[in-house]
Subunit: 176 residues, 2 copies
Protein backbone atom coordinates (compact mmCIF):
# COMPACT_ATOMS: atom_id res chain seq x y z
CA UNK A 1 0.00 0.00 0.00
CA UNK A 2 2.82 2.36 0.89
CA UNK A 3 4.40 1.62 -2.49
CA UNK A 4 1.13 2.40 -4.25
CA UNK A 5 0.77 5.77 -2.49
CA UNK A 6 4.38 6.61 -3.37
CA UNK A 7 3.71 5.77 -6.99
CA UNK A 8 0.58 7.96 -7.05
CA UNK A 9 2.53 10.87 -5.59
CA UNK A 10 5.31 10.47 -8.14
CA UNK A 11 2.84 10.31 -11.01
CA UNK A 12 0.93 13.33 -9.70
CA UNK A 13 4.13 15.31 -9.24
CA UNK A 14 5.45 14.49 -12.68
CA UNK A 15 2.08 15.33 -14.21
CA UNK A 16 2.07 18.62 -12.31
CA UNK A 17 5.54 19.52 -13.53
CA UNK A 18 4.61 18.71 -17.10
CA UNK A 19 1.36 20.68 -16.82
CA UNK A 20 3.09 23.74 -15.37
CA UNK A 21 5.90 23.61 -17.91
CA UNK A 22 3.75 23.19 -20.95
CA UNK A 23 2.07 26.61 -20.91
CA UNK A 24 5.35 28.38 -20.14
CA UNK A 25 7.31 26.67 -22.86
CA UNK A 26 5.89 28.84 -25.59
CA UNK A 27 6.67 26.18 -28.14
CA UNK A 28 4.20 25.81 -30.95
CA UNK A 29 5.15 22.19 -31.42
CA UNK A 30 1.63 20.87 -31.68
CA UNK A 31 -0.91 19.57 -29.22
CA UNK A 32 0.86 20.65 -26.02
CA UNK A 33 0.60 24.42 -26.40
CA UNK A 34 -2.70 25.76 -25.08
CA UNK A 35 -4.52 28.08 -27.43
CA UNK A 36 -7.68 28.71 -25.51
CA UNK A 37 -8.85 29.78 -22.11
CA UNK A 38 -11.38 27.74 -20.17
CA UNK A 39 -12.13 30.12 -17.30
CA UNK A 40 -14.25 33.28 -17.41
CA UNK A 41 -12.12 36.22 -16.21
CA UNK A 42 -13.36 37.51 -12.86
CA UNK A 43 -15.23 40.82 -12.76
CA UNK A 44 -15.51 41.23 -16.53
CA UNK A 45 -18.98 42.78 -16.25
CA UNK A 46 -17.40 45.74 -14.44
CA UNK A 47 -14.87 46.44 -17.19
CA UNK A 48 -14.91 49.60 -19.24
CA UNK A 49 -16.26 49.90 -22.76
CA UNK A 50 -14.00 49.61 -25.78
CA UNK A 51 -16.82 49.84 -28.31
CA UNK A 52 -20.16 48.40 -29.39
CA UNK A 53 -21.24 46.54 -32.52
CA UNK A 54 -24.06 44.71 -34.27
CA UNK A 55 -23.49 41.47 -36.12
CA UNK A 56 -26.34 40.75 -38.52
CA UNK A 57 -26.93 37.47 -40.37
CA UNK A 58 -26.66 34.20 -38.51
CA UNK A 59 -25.17 35.74 -35.39
CA UNK A 60 -27.90 38.42 -35.19
CA UNK A 61 -26.52 39.93 -31.99
CA UNK A 62 -25.70 43.28 -30.45
CA UNK A 63 -22.53 43.41 -28.41
CA UNK A 64 -20.41 45.36 -26.01
CA UNK A 65 -16.65 44.99 -26.26
CA UNK A 66 -14.97 45.60 -22.90
CA UNK A 67 -11.39 45.69 -21.69
CA UNK A 68 -9.72 45.04 -18.36
CA UNK A 69 -7.63 47.91 -16.94
CA UNK A 70 -4.48 46.86 -18.79
CA UNK A 71 -6.30 46.65 -22.12
CA UNK A 72 -8.16 49.95 -21.70
CA UNK A 73 -4.94 51.78 -20.78
CA UNK A 74 -3.20 50.40 -23.87
CA UNK A 75 -6.17 51.27 -26.09
CA UNK A 76 -6.30 54.84 -24.81
CA UNK A 77 -2.58 55.32 -25.18
CA UNK A 78 -2.65 53.73 -28.64
CA UNK A 79 0.02 51.25 -27.57
CA UNK A 80 0.65 48.14 -29.64
CA UNK A 81 1.26 45.32 -29.03
CA UNK A 82 -1.03 45.00 -26.01
CA UNK A 83 0.92 44.33 -22.80
CA UNK A 84 0.95 41.04 -20.95
CA UNK A 85 -2.23 40.53 -18.95
CA UNK A 86 -4.45 42.55 -21.27
CA UNK A 87 -7.88 41.00 -21.76
CA UNK A 88 -10.41 42.09 -24.34
CA UNK A 89 -13.89 40.66 -23.82
CA UNK A 90 -17.19 40.88 -25.54
CA UNK A 91 -20.73 40.19 -24.40
CA UNK A 92 -23.28 39.32 -27.08
CA UNK A 93 -27.02 39.60 -26.59
CA UNK A 94 -29.70 38.72 -29.10
CA UNK A 95 -30.67 41.65 -31.31
CA UNK A 96 -34.31 42.45 -30.67
CA UNK A 97 -36.72 45.15 -31.74
CA UNK A 98 -38.02 47.19 -28.81
CA UNK A 99 -41.77 47.71 -29.06
CA UNK A 100 -41.70 49.92 -26.02
CA UNK A 101 -39.08 52.27 -27.48
CA UNK A 102 -40.71 52.27 -30.92
CA UNK A 103 -43.99 53.37 -29.38
CA UNK A 104 -42.27 56.35 -27.79
CA UNK A 105 -40.36 57.23 -30.96
CA UNK A 106 -43.52 56.84 -33.03
CA UNK A 107 -41.74 54.58 -35.50
CA UNK A 108 -39.91 51.26 -35.89
CA UNK A 109 -36.32 52.14 -35.22
CA UNK A 110 -35.11 50.81 -31.92
CA UNK A 111 -33.10 47.59 -31.46
CA UNK A 112 -31.91 46.58 -28.03
CA UNK A 113 -30.10 43.81 -26.18
CA UNK A 114 -32.25 40.74 -25.56
CA UNK A 115 -31.21 37.50 -23.93
CA UNK A 116 -27.64 36.12 -23.96
CA UNK A 117 -26.68 34.42 -27.23
CA UNK A 118 -25.20 30.92 -27.65
CA UNK A 119 -21.73 32.47 -27.80
CA UNK A 120 -22.56 34.86 -24.96
CA UNK A 121 -19.03 35.65 -23.74
CA UNK A 122 -15.70 35.71 -25.55
CA UNK A 123 -12.31 36.79 -24.30
CA UNK A 124 -8.80 37.24 -25.70
CA UNK A 125 -6.15 36.93 -23.00
CA UNK A 126 -2.64 38.26 -23.69
CA UNK A 127 0.17 35.96 -22.61
CA UNK A 128 2.93 35.99 -25.21
CA UNK A 129 4.68 32.89 -23.95
CA UNK A 130 1.71 30.74 -23.07
CA UNK A 131 -0.17 31.50 -26.28
CA UNK A 132 2.80 32.00 -28.60
CA UNK A 133 1.23 29.68 -31.17
CA UNK A 134 -1.75 32.01 -31.64
CA UNK A 135 -0.15 35.44 -31.77
CA UNK A 136 0.27 35.78 -28.01
CA UNK A 137 -3.45 35.63 -27.34
CA UNK A 138 -5.46 32.85 -25.77
CA UNK A 139 -9.05 32.70 -26.98
CA UNK A 140 -12.17 31.66 -25.14
CA UNK A 141 -15.91 31.45 -25.64
CA UNK A 142 -18.68 30.59 -23.19
CA UNK A 143 -22.42 30.08 -23.41
CA UNK A 144 -24.87 31.72 -20.99
CA UNK A 145 -24.34 28.91 -18.47
CA UNK A 146 -20.59 29.46 -18.45
CA UNK A 147 -19.85 26.32 -20.46
CA UNK A 148 -16.76 26.77 -22.64
CA UNK A 149 -16.96 26.11 -26.36
CA UNK A 150 -15.15 22.90 -27.32
CA UNK A 151 -11.53 22.91 -28.40
CA UNK A 152 -12.00 22.13 -32.13
CA UNK A 153 -14.22 25.20 -32.52
CA UNK A 154 -11.78 27.38 -30.55
CA UNK A 155 -8.97 26.43 -32.90
CA UNK A 156 -10.72 28.49 -35.56
CA UNK A 157 -10.46 31.82 -33.67
CA UNK A 158 -6.94 32.58 -34.74
CA UNK A 159 -7.68 31.83 -38.40
CA UNK A 160 -9.73 35.03 -38.57
CA UNK A 161 -7.79 37.11 -36.07
CA UNK A 162 -4.50 36.71 -37.89
CA UNK A 163 -5.87 38.98 -40.61
CA UNK A 164 -5.48 41.86 -38.11
CA UNK A 165 -1.84 41.19 -37.25
CA UNK A 166 -0.93 44.88 -37.60
CA UNK A 167 -3.28 45.74 -34.74
CA UNK A 168 -2.00 42.86 -32.61
CA UNK A 169 -4.83 40.58 -33.80
CA UNK A 170 -7.59 42.64 -32.15
CA UNK A 171 -10.51 43.55 -34.40
CA UNK A 172 -12.28 46.12 -32.26
CA UNK A 173 -11.04 49.72 -32.29
CA UNK A 174 -11.55 51.99 -29.31
CA UNK A 175 -14.63 54.24 -29.68
CA UNK A 176 -13.86 57.69 -28.23
CA UNK B 1 -15.90 102.24 -0.29
CA UNK B 2 -16.39 100.06 2.75
CA UNK B 3 -20.16 100.47 2.33
CA UNK B 4 -19.91 99.42 -1.32
CA UNK B 5 -17.96 96.27 -0.46
CA UNK B 6 -20.53 95.46 2.22
CA UNK B 7 -23.34 95.89 -0.30
CA UNK B 8 -21.60 93.64 -2.80
CA UNK B 9 -21.16 90.98 -0.15
CA UNK B 10 -24.83 91.24 0.88
CA UNK B 11 -26.01 91.02 -2.72
CA UNK B 12 -23.71 88.09 -3.43
CA UNK B 13 -24.85 86.32 -0.28
CA UNK B 14 -28.53 86.85 -1.01
CA UNK B 15 -28.04 85.74 -4.60
CA UNK B 16 -26.24 82.65 -3.34
CA UNK B 17 -29.04 81.82 -0.94
CA UNK B 18 -31.65 82.29 -3.65
CA UNK B 19 -29.62 80.20 -6.09
CA UNK B 20 -29.17 77.39 -3.62
CA UNK B 21 -32.81 77.50 -2.60
CA UNK B 22 -34.27 77.56 -6.08
CA UNK B 23 -33.18 74.07 -7.12
CA UNK B 24 -34.05 72.71 -3.70
CA UNK B 25 -37.54 74.18 -3.63
CA UNK B 26 -38.93 71.45 -5.82
CA UNK B 27 -41.69 73.71 -7.03
CA UNK B 28 -42.73 73.28 -10.60
CA UNK B 29 -44.02 76.82 -10.78
CA UNK B 30 -42.60 77.65 -14.16
CA UNK B 31 -39.39 79.11 -15.42
CA UNK B 32 -37.38 78.92 -12.20
CA UNK B 33 -37.14 75.13 -11.85
CA UNK B 34 -34.22 73.71 -13.82
CA UNK B 35 -35.05 70.74 -15.98
CA UNK B 36 -31.77 70.14 -17.67
CA UNK B 37 -28.12 69.72 -16.90
CA UNK B 38 -25.45 71.79 -18.65
CA UNK B 39 -22.31 70.03 -17.46
CA UNK B 40 -20.94 66.68 -18.61
CA UNK B 41 -20.57 64.38 -15.57
CA UNK B 42 -16.90 63.72 -14.80
CA UNK B 43 -15.46 60.31 -15.63
CA UNK B 44 -18.51 59.03 -17.51
CA UNK B 45 -16.32 57.13 -20.01
CA UNK B 46 -15.16 54.89 -17.15
CA UNK B 47 -18.68 53.93 -16.09
CA UNK B 48 -20.02 50.41 -16.36
CA UNK B 49 -22.33 49.16 -19.07
CA UNK B 50 -26.09 49.06 -18.57
CA UNK B 51 -26.85 47.90 -22.11
CA UNK B 52 -26.32 48.61 -25.80
CA UNK B 53 -28.72 49.56 -28.59
CA UNK B 54 -29.07 50.56 -32.22
CA UNK B 55 -31.37 53.34 -33.30
CA UNK B 56 -32.11 53.13 -37.02
CA UNK B 57 -33.84 55.79 -39.11
CA UNK B 58 -32.81 59.42 -38.78
CA UNK B 59 -30.67 58.81 -35.71
CA UNK B 60 -28.79 55.92 -37.34
CA UNK B 61 -26.53 55.37 -34.36
CA UNK B 62 -25.16 52.59 -32.19
CA UNK B 63 -24.96 53.31 -28.52
CA UNK B 64 -23.68 52.26 -25.13
CA UNK B 65 -25.81 53.05 -22.11
CA UNK B 66 -23.67 53.44 -18.98
CA UNK B 67 -24.38 54.11 -15.32
CA UNK B 68 -22.44 55.70 -12.51
CA UNK B 69 -21.85 53.53 -9.43
CA UNK B 70 -25.15 54.55 -7.80
CA UNK B 71 -27.14 53.76 -10.94
CA UNK B 72 -25.40 50.42 -11.61
CA UNK B 73 -25.97 49.29 -8.01
CA UNK B 74 -29.67 50.16 -8.25
CA UNK B 75 -30.00 48.43 -11.61
CA UNK B 76 -28.35 45.25 -10.33
CA UNK B 77 -30.45 45.20 -7.20
CA UNK B 78 -33.59 45.93 -9.19
CA UNK B 79 -34.32 48.92 -6.97
CA UNK B 80 -36.81 51.55 -8.08
CA UNK B 81 -36.97 54.49 -7.93
CA UNK B 82 -33.29 55.16 -8.56
CA UNK B 83 -31.60 56.79 -5.55
CA UNK B 84 -30.44 60.40 -5.43
CA UNK B 85 -27.22 60.92 -7.36
CA UNK B 86 -27.85 58.15 -9.87
CA UNK B 87 -26.80 59.09 -13.39
CA UNK B 88 -27.63 57.11 -16.51
CA UNK B 89 -25.66 58.16 -19.57
CA UNK B 90 -25.46 57.13 -23.15
CA UNK B 91 -22.83 57.57 -25.83
CA UNK B 92 -23.99 57.48 -29.45
CA UNK B 93 -21.70 56.81 -32.37
CA UNK B 94 -22.64 56.77 -36.04
CA UNK B 95 -23.67 53.30 -37.22
CA UNK B 96 -21.22 52.19 -39.88
CA UNK B 97 -20.59 49.03 -41.84
CA UNK B 98 -17.16 47.53 -41.15
CA UNK B 99 -15.46 46.49 -44.39
CA UNK B 100 -12.58 45.06 -42.42
CA UNK B 101 -14.81 42.80 -40.33
CA UNK B 102 -16.96 41.82 -43.31
CA UNK B 103 -13.88 40.69 -45.17
CA UNK B 104 -12.97 38.37 -42.29
CA UNK B 105 -16.51 37.07 -41.91
CA UNK B 106 -16.77 36.60 -45.66
CA UNK B 107 -20.09 38.46 -45.79
CA UNK B 108 -21.77 41.81 -45.12
CA UNK B 109 -22.86 41.55 -41.52
CA UNK B 110 -20.79 43.74 -39.25
CA UNK B 111 -21.81 47.20 -38.04
CA UNK B 112 -19.58 49.12 -35.68
CA UNK B 113 -19.26 52.46 -33.89
CA UNK B 114 -18.07 55.27 -36.15
CA UNK B 115 -17.61 58.92 -35.23
CA UNK B 116 -19.59 60.69 -32.49
CA UNK B 117 -23.09 61.72 -33.54
CA UNK B 118 -24.65 65.20 -33.24
CA UNK B 119 -26.28 64.15 -29.98
CA UNK B 120 -23.12 62.35 -28.86
CA UNK B 121 -23.71 62.33 -25.09
CA UNK B 122 -26.89 62.29 -23.04
CA UNK B 123 -27.36 61.99 -19.32
CA UNK B 124 -30.21 61.69 -16.83
CA UNK B 125 -29.25 62.95 -13.38
CA UNK B 126 -31.40 61.98 -10.40
CA UNK B 127 -32.17 64.82 -7.99
CA UNK B 128 -35.76 64.54 -6.84
CA UNK B 129 -35.98 68.05 -5.45
CA UNK B 130 -34.04 69.95 -8.05
CA UNK B 131 -35.75 68.25 -10.97
CA UNK B 132 -39.15 67.64 -9.38
CA UNK B 133 -40.91 69.09 -12.42
CA UNK B 134 -39.53 66.34 -14.67
CA UNK B 135 -39.96 63.22 -12.59
CA UNK B 136 -36.90 63.82 -10.42
CA UNK B 137 -34.48 63.60 -13.35
CA UNK B 138 -32.52 66.39 -14.99
CA UNK B 139 -31.81 65.76 -18.66
CA UNK B 140 -28.82 66.78 -20.73
CA UNK B 141 -27.45 66.38 -24.22
CA UNK B 142 -24.08 67.39 -25.68
CA UNK B 143 -22.50 67.34 -29.10
CA UNK B 144 -18.99 65.98 -29.72
CA UNK B 145 -17.47 69.33 -28.75
CA UNK B 146 -19.23 69.29 -25.39
CA UNK B 147 -21.75 71.96 -26.38
CA UNK B 148 -25.07 71.44 -24.61
CA UNK B 149 -28.27 71.23 -26.64
CA UNK B 150 -30.41 74.34 -26.23
CA UNK B 151 -33.14 74.57 -23.62
CA UNK B 152 -36.21 74.40 -25.90
CA UNK B 153 -35.03 71.07 -27.30
CA UNK B 154 -34.24 69.74 -23.82
CA UNK B 155 -37.78 70.50 -22.69
CA UNK B 156 -38.93 67.68 -24.96
CA UNK B 157 -36.98 64.93 -23.14
CA UNK B 158 -39.53 64.41 -20.44
CA UNK B 159 -42.41 64.21 -22.91
CA UNK B 160 -41.11 60.82 -24.04
CA UNK B 161 -39.64 59.62 -20.77
CA UNK B 162 -42.89 60.03 -18.86
CA UNK B 163 -44.26 57.04 -20.78
CA UNK B 164 -41.91 54.89 -18.65
CA UNK B 165 -43.05 56.21 -15.29
CA UNK B 166 -43.32 52.69 -13.84
CA UNK B 167 -39.58 52.19 -14.36
CA UNK B 168 -38.77 55.61 -12.91
CA UNK B 169 -38.70 57.18 -16.39
CA UNK B 170 -35.66 55.21 -17.56
CA UNK B 171 -36.02 53.43 -20.89
CA UNK B 172 -32.97 51.20 -20.85
CA UNK B 173 -33.13 47.89 -19.00
CA UNK B 174 -30.02 46.28 -17.56
CA UNK B 175 -28.52 43.64 -19.87
CA UNK B 176 -27.20 40.74 -17.78
Amino acid sequence: MRQFIFLVIVVATVAGVVASMAPASGQSDGQAAPIFVTKIPAGYRDWRVVSVAHEAGELNDIRAVLGNDIAIKAYREGKLPFPEGAIVGRIAWSYVSSEENNKSFGREQSFVAGSPTDAYLQFMVKDSKKYAATGGWGYSSFDKDGKPTDEPAMKKCFLCHQAIKDRDFVFTRYAP
